[in-house]
Symmetry: C2
Subunit: 409 residues, 2 copies
């Protein structure tokens, strides 16, 4: 089940010069499904990433940070599903490093040039031997046209592969941007989604790309939530293969940088929203806009309180305009000096509450009409400033419970 | 459904001299169920309360605060179910005040001597005329032996009435303590549960009782959570009828004060835990102990992160020892300098994780054995200090979704 989301036509996904993707079945957790992916990057690319802020971060996240900090040129990504290699202590770190070393040997690279990514069950030993056994098949499979195939290979509880692509003109040259992501549960990214990868042939200096990735993640993956659980493995990486015909982008300012950042943000938002649309058990896609706050932070805090409330989420699932639950969530969001008599609430175009009470013109039929839709915008005006923020989320259904009660069985 | 909770034998609930309870069917939301309760308090009692910290607090909570602040002696409580009178603006305040005035007239009191309490649906107008029509029947019903009857009358989605009673000897005199509470969803009290009332015939000065109520609430209602949703209506009130034979308690120090506080805390914890045991859809009762923290606050923060994680709660529902989800919640609880390599995790007597990784001796069969129980203790040792805190919660089941998706229909 997913909300207004279908797999992209593979033909719509632009290959990125200098980037090839390959996948194979390594039987990491289950047989007969693609679970091992490699992304091979030609020399001369810029690569930058952001990772989970969970203090219990997984071994591959720790190794990614080390390898990016080493200053060596990143030439390959190695992604496995079925096992998160998190909560695995020193042994988990050793296995993540060993998997990088094995791939590096096959590609004549140093281990620091490989970034590892794992997603799946937590606190189980990574089946290193199966990963190592599958790597040569994954490398042999690598092609520029394999974006859709890789999007499928990194899925876990996802029901739809997530891949988007666009082209923009930068400095007179056509530039392509393609990205894939996975994630459906344990989703409340803090810096990045579970796994998201975007590549472009744009020419960007590594230091500029590093700054740009943070800005892009803030406007996309850091604004979604399914269940409020920040994963141990969230990782978002952008590869710029530096093959396009425009002059190199050397700062965040300027029209070229803005054009590239907008293109990256567009793809990242589509991927992030696709994760919500495919949220575990999701039947509705909810946009939560909080306006008239004193700061962006307090707007986000209120938006997340609404987005995480099980009572609000079950009301959306039931199409029940029990909208007082939204006001209750606004009230406990943690703004100490909030004045309830200044708060307005809208559901799409319907004015539900005025100055903290039911709007005189509000009719439950109008609320009911909006609640029945598969796409709903909740708008809260706090009446205390001019800041605003937006968060995307989904409802909480029986299927969320079923999926997570049965995930390992 | 509830977890190891059954209704108390009415004969076990001690009457409190000077306190009478009455209930009636006023058809506030549904016909043929008790939904209107009064607690009548003889002259000379001390009354103190704590209320929700939700900034969107309900009209009755605002009126309670006003009436308690007025300094007039509180002589009656008026409780309705079926309607929370929250998110109702100025009109809601007027209706709450009018209900107090009507009861005050019948009892020859001033309106400020009545405290109003409402629980039920948010953002619907309080049906004042039905409450006013039912009051004389509720008053006529009032008896000292009606604790069980009142516990039943204040239920909403509760499946079991919650009432407990005890006797202690204070200053050579036998003192009784009896209490009732209601609440099953929208439960993450912040100062108090949805509704909790305790009465004792102990002799306590009002100022001392006021301090004592805060301490008791902190150790009981402020340590439970069902769904993380802090209600708009949480209220907890203690009545001391000052009829017992011991010398008046005039400070929080001393053996008499400690004995009374322990008795009140004991009943409040039983009531608070009963709310969790009867949590919407609950099948398991979970105690979360976090130890070796730097501060009590950070221990509580970690305990609530675990208690609110939908992934942890669904794993308990499924009896699935997918315990990495607990480590993930510890990691995102917001302790910036947490060192994952110092964290140990226990499930009852089973050592699950040592220094952030799976304990070498841990066998999944042992985790499975504990997860199948209806009462489970999760213990996390943070390895960074000597503070500790405990929170009680329940699992997240299909029935939680059903109850909240269907609550109004």
């Amino acid at each position: 089940m997913s909300v207004n989301l279908s797999a992209s036509d593979p033909a719509s996904l632009h290959p990125i010069a200098g980037v090839r993707l390959g996948a194979t079945e390594a039987a990491i957790r289950k047989a007969a499904r693609k679970d091992l992916t490699v992304v091979l990057i030609d020399e001369g690319a810029s690569v930058a990433g952001v990772f989970t802020q969970n203090r219990f971060c997984a071994a591959p996240v720790q190794v990614c940070r080390e390898h990016l900090a080493s200053g060596q040129e990143i030439r390959a990504l190695l992604v496995n599903t079925g096992n998160a290699n998190a909560g695995t202590g020193d042994d988990g770190l050793a296995r993540a490093r060993a998997s990088c070393a094995t791939l590096a040997r096959q590609l004549s690279l140093s281990p620091e040039q490989v970034l590892p990514f794992s997603t799946g069950v937590i606190m189980e030993p990574l089946p290193l031997e199966r990963i190592e056994a599958g790597l040569s098949a994954a490398v042999a499979d690598a092609q520029g046209g394999h974006w859709a195939r890789a999007a499928e290979a990194i899925m876990t509880t996802d029901t739809v592969p997530k891949a988007f692509s666009t082209q923009v003109v930068i400095g007179g040259a056509r530039v392509s941007v393609s990205g894939i992501a996975k994630g459906a549960g344990m989703i409340r990214p803090n810096m990045a989604t579970m796994l998201g990868f975007i590549a472009t042939d744009a020419r960007v200096e590594p230091a500029v790309l590093k700054e740009m990735v943070t800005v892009v993640a803030e406007a996309s993956f850091n604004r979604i939530t399914v269940d409020g659980d920040t994963s141990t493995n969230d990782s978002f990486v952008v590869i710029a293969s530096n093959r396009a015909g425009h002059a190199p982008i050397t700062s965040l300012d300027g029209a070229d940088a803005r054009a590239l950042q907008a293109a990256l943000t567009g793809i990242a938002q589509k991927l992030a929203q696709a994760i919500v649309r495919d949220g575990e058990g999701a039947t509705k896609f909810i946009t939560i806009q909080v306006q008239q706050g004193k700061t962006t932070e307090e707007c986000r805090q209120v938006a997340y309180a609404i987005a995480h409330s099980p009572l609000v989420k079950t009301a959306f699932f039931a199409s029940d305009p029990n909208l007082g639950r939204i006001l209750a969530a606004v009230g406990y969001a943690g703004i100490a000096d909030l004045d309830q008599t200044k708060i307005d609430l809208y559901l799409d175009d319907v004015h539900v509450a005025t100055r903290g009470g039911r709007d005189p013109a509000y009719r439950e039929d109008d609320g009911q009409r909006v609640m029945k839709q598969s796409e709903i915008t909740v708008r809260v005006a706090l009446g205390r400033g001019s800041a605003a923020d937006t968060v995307w989320t989904c409802d909480l259904s029986h299927d969320y419970v079923s999926i997570n009660a049965d995930y390992r069985s």
